[in-house]
């Protein structure tokens, strides 16, 4: 009788391969890769004026870094938002948090006058991240304290926070000190007008997010909370703290993204990141997060953001009519989620069969 299939060393690698193949992210990586290959093949090429060499219209450093930079601003937010979604909630306010954090930073720096570049960056980060974290905490506390669904609370705070940004900025676009732009556009050894900072931050945060979700107690609690609230209560988890925590992280990532965005583009206004909340949610969902809760990943969220940006990019690169961008992206989101659900069902069926045969073997 086999109680539990012992993990024999010989089957370990096979096991890892199987798990990799079954994981949500692998599917996304494949789709992203295929789309990239198709883009390279179809993009055509042009002659570089300086070097006289033929350059692929997509597979060239400029376009690639540009695409990744585009993705990074909302991929970073999607990492936080995916945690809210795994917990079974939703955060509609991230775009507004972005705007408020960016505007606040620009105003504070303007009020403080010229400073050293190190001090400027420090104050900027503290203000942006601090405002983001605070907004997230407020969202979480309102959700837990008032026992109102996160959709409602964040729908409200979405308008309130953007309203604050509008009022304090007097609807003006406010310039941020050039020293911040120097930070966000630091070439880091890359030449030719390539700015790798946002995409590097995205990569680092993806890794941190993945570790947080899969290797820490808090991450595990988020999955349990979203998977079954009652069972989590019976397991002695502090439900309120978990829920406040996910909103805080979501606000935090919005703050980080705001710092990068405002610094990168050199200004902040109350209209920044309008509609980003939906891109962010779409990224998380395309990345495999389930709106019912209990399922999702940080890597998936970033890949989801990447996929959406790639689709947008392909419309430009392939010279399709840009007016169709929204239609294409909307369809892509629905298709991605349908495929995901379908594959989840297949996996579940396979697992049940495995459990069956394990039982039959006893």
């Amino acid at each position: 009788m086999t109680e539990l299939t012992a993990e024999r060393p010989s089957s370990r690698t096979a096991d890892i391969v199987r798990r990799l193949l079954a994981s949500q992210e692998t599917g996304l990586v494949i789709v992203v890769t295929l789309l990239t290959i198709a883009l390279i093949a179809l993009a055509g090429s042009h002659l570089d004026r300086r070097t006289g060499l033929e350059v692929n219209n997509f597979w060239n450093p400029n376009t690639l870094v540009q695409t990744l930079t585009d993705a990074s601003f909302f991929a970073i937010m999607a990492i936080g938002a995916t945690m809210v979604i795994i917990s079974g909630g939703i955060d509609l306010s991230v775009g507004s948090i972005y705007a408020l954090a960016g505007v606040s930073m620009a105003l504070v720096l303007r009020a403080m006058g010229p400073m050293g570049s190190g001090a400027t960056a420090f104050v900027g980060i503290v203000v942006c991240v601090g405002i983001g974290l605070m907004c997230g905490l407020i969202n979480g506390i309102l959700v837990v304290g008032l026992r109102v669904h996160p959709f409602i609370i964040t729908l409200g705070s979405m308008w309130v926070l953007r309203g604050f940004a509008f009022v304090i900025s007097k609807a003006e676009s406010i310039l941020v000190p050039p020293s911040l732009t120097d930070v966000a556009k630091a070439p880091l050894g890359l030449g030719g007008g390539l700015y790798p900072v946002p995409m590097l931050v995205m990569l680092v945060l993806t890794v941190l997010g993945a570790i947080y979700l899969t290797r820490t107690v808090m991450g595990r609690h988020i999955f349990a909370f979203g998977g079954n609230l009652e069972a989590s209560r019976f397991a002695g988890l502090s439900l309120g703290r978990i829920q406040i925590g996910v909103f805080a992280v979501s606000g935090l990532t919005a703050g980080i993204s705001a710092f990068l965005g405002a610094s990168f583009y050199g200004s902040a206004s109350s209209g920044d990141a309008q509609g980003y909340e939906l891109y962010v949610i779409a990224s998380a969902v395309v990345g495999g997060a389930s709106l019912i809760g209990g399922k999702g990943s940080a890597v998936g969220a970033t890949l989801g953001a990447l996929l959406i940006v790639l689709i947008r990019q392909s419309i430009r690169t392939l010279h399709f009519d840009q007016n169709y961008e929204w239609i294409v992206i909307g369809c892509a989101i629905i298709i991605a989620v349908v495929i995901d659900q379908w594959s989840t069902r297949m996996t579940a069926r396979r697992l049940t069969q495995a459990a069956e045969s394990a039982r039959a073997a006893k």
Binding site: T216, A224, F234, A348, A355
Partner: protein
């Protein structure tokens, strides 16, 4: 009485992980009230659900009024005159009684609902079963007994000549149950065949003409109730005399007092409840549905906060603030509803097992995964959990294995005081025996165990002592020697008056 209302010929049904029915053959005469009885997991509910079209048999034939039928939905069954009354109600809580009763065919004129016609039709359906009810009331606001009446009215009004009642009294008060019995008598008088799924002896003998006993998915016997005594029936249900039912642990010499409850009160739930629990002892908490058993457990686990009375743990009075605090105090709670309260179904067995003790399995909030895995493996092996791997999601496992994982969770948390609420509900017979053996073993090793179960034989044979609750108060305490189904039932339902007869 020439053609049987229902006839089973070699019916089999397999669920993932359990053979629910194998080769069951018998018949039910028209116009009779026929009981299907057996332990939990014997297959009686499955059989009822096959008649009502909720499950489809894998093998064998089902004949209704002499002709073979293949129901694929409850609607098919109702079309053939078979209705079912069960706990998982198929009605919309937010609609009115009238709307629910006429939902499949709302009376309407050019798309606008004719409210008057709807009300009249619903009232006449209820009248047919002799029930009076304000049909404009919201269904969700009715008492459970009234909801059952509405269900029965829907079945009868839908033309059902055969009605399956699945454990209909399990959540009814005594008075509601009496009303239900009266209604069943009226239905019988009108020639309706009633199939009564239950393991409650007094009801079976009061109501039913014939009884079919199932055990482990097999047909044991079909008899006229007049030819049987209660103990015959029990004997056939369990297949051996009650005394050896669970092969239960020898009387462990009980150790120090672990838990004492003094005058505990949660307003509206239970009042002035006192009992004690010693190391190595198994105490049963018995009572009818709604007597406050699970509520007492919730209070011990910090889910409810008592307004009066106190909880004394190992001689020290404590206030159990939250489940986290209870776990810290060494209390583990296997809740009543495994899927809703016990497990995160979307997560793996590993993650479920470690959930309450992640704090202990981590350093600086960083999970030590090797340790987590070895702890889970230890308890999975000890409880003989059958799963393809530690990482398989628990949703795909059988009830028995799921329940073992809930137990593993609390063993891994090294709880010294275990509250087991319906520990074997919906668990197949093999796993049930294993769980019972484990409970005995845990007690022998010095754990203090409080068992709550609706299955009287289970409580009686597992427990060293039984505390009986009635309407939120302690009705009495029985020692192992005094505890019989009869004595416990009498206490549960009210001393003196013979139960439900």
């Amino acid at each position: 009485m020439n053609v049987a209302a229902v006839r089973f010929e070699g019916v089999s049904k397999r669920f993932p992980g359990a053979q629910a029915l194998s080769d069951v053959s018998f018949e039910i005469s028209a116009g009779a009230c026929h009981a299907l009885c057996g332990e939990n997991g014997a297959g009686k509910s499955t059989l009822g659900k096959i008649i009502a079209g909720i499950h489809q048999p894998d093998g064998g034939r089902l004949l209704i009024n002499g002709s073979e039928v293949h129901f694929t939905t409850p609607r098919d069954a109702l079309a053939a005159g078979v209705g079912m009354v069960h706990q998982e109600l198929a009605f919309c809580d937010n609609l009115s009684v009238a709307e629910n009763l006429t939902l499949s065919d709302l009376p309407a004129r050019s798309g606008i609902v004719d409210r008057e016609a709807m009300r009249q039709r619903a009232e006449s359906m209820l009248a047919e079963t002799g029930t009076e009810l304000d049909v404009t009331r919201e269904f969700g606001k009715l008492a459970i007994g009234q909801r059952q009446m509405v269900q029965i009215a829907a079945a009868v009004g839908g033309g059902a000549k055969i009605i399956v009642f699945d454990e209909p009294t399990s959540s009814l008060s005594q008075a509601e149950a009496e009303r239900l019995f009266a209604l069943i008598e009226r239905l019988k008088a009108r020639g309706v065949t009633c199939i009564y799924v239950s393991h409650r002896m007094p009801e079976i003998f009061q109501l039913c003409d014939a009884v079919t006993i199932l055990r482990d998915g097999r047909h044991v016997a079909t008899r006229a109730t007049t030819s049987l005594t209660e103990s015959d029936l029990v004997q056939m249900m369990i297949g051996r005399p009650l005394a050896e039912y669970f092969g239960r642990h020898s009387d462990a010499s009980a150790g120090d007092e672990m838990l004492r409850v003094e005058g505990l009160t949660v307003p509206g739930k239970f009042e002035d409840v006192s009992f004690s629990l010693r190391a190595g002892e198994i105490v049963g908490l018995a009572g009818l549905m709604g007597a406050g058993r699970s509520e007492v457990a919730s209070a011990l686990f910090g889910l409810e906060h008592p307004s009066r009375g106190r909880i004394v743990l190992r001689g020290k009075p404590v206030e159990v603030r939250s489940p986290a605090h209870a776990i810290e105090l060494g209390i583990g709670y296997v809740p009543e509803d495994r899927k809703r309260q016990g497990l995160v179904l979307s997560a793996s067995g590993l993650h479920n097992t470690s959930l309450p003790i992640l704090g202990r399995l981590s350093r600086f909030r960083w999970i030590m995964r090797a340790r987590e895995r070895s702890v889970a493996r230890e308890y999975f092996d000890r409880l003989r959990v059958r799963t393809p791997s530690l990482d398989a999601t628990v949703a795909g496992l059988s009830g028995g294995n799921q329940q073992k994982i809930v137990l593993a969770k609390w063993l891994a948390a090294s709880s010294q005081i275990l509250i087991l609420d319906e520990p074997t509900r919906g668990v197949d017979v093999g796993a049930k025996a294993e769980i019972h053996a484990l409970v005995g073993e845990l007690a022998a090793r010095g754990a203090a165990i409080l068992v709550i179960s609706s299955e009287l034989p289970e409580v009686i044979s597992l427990s060293d002592r039984i505390v009986v609750l009635r309407s939120g108060r302690v009705a009495g305490e029985l020692s192992r020697r005094e505890a019989t189904e009869d004595s416990v039932l009498r206490l549960m339902a009210g001393i003196g008056e013979p139960v439900a007869s």
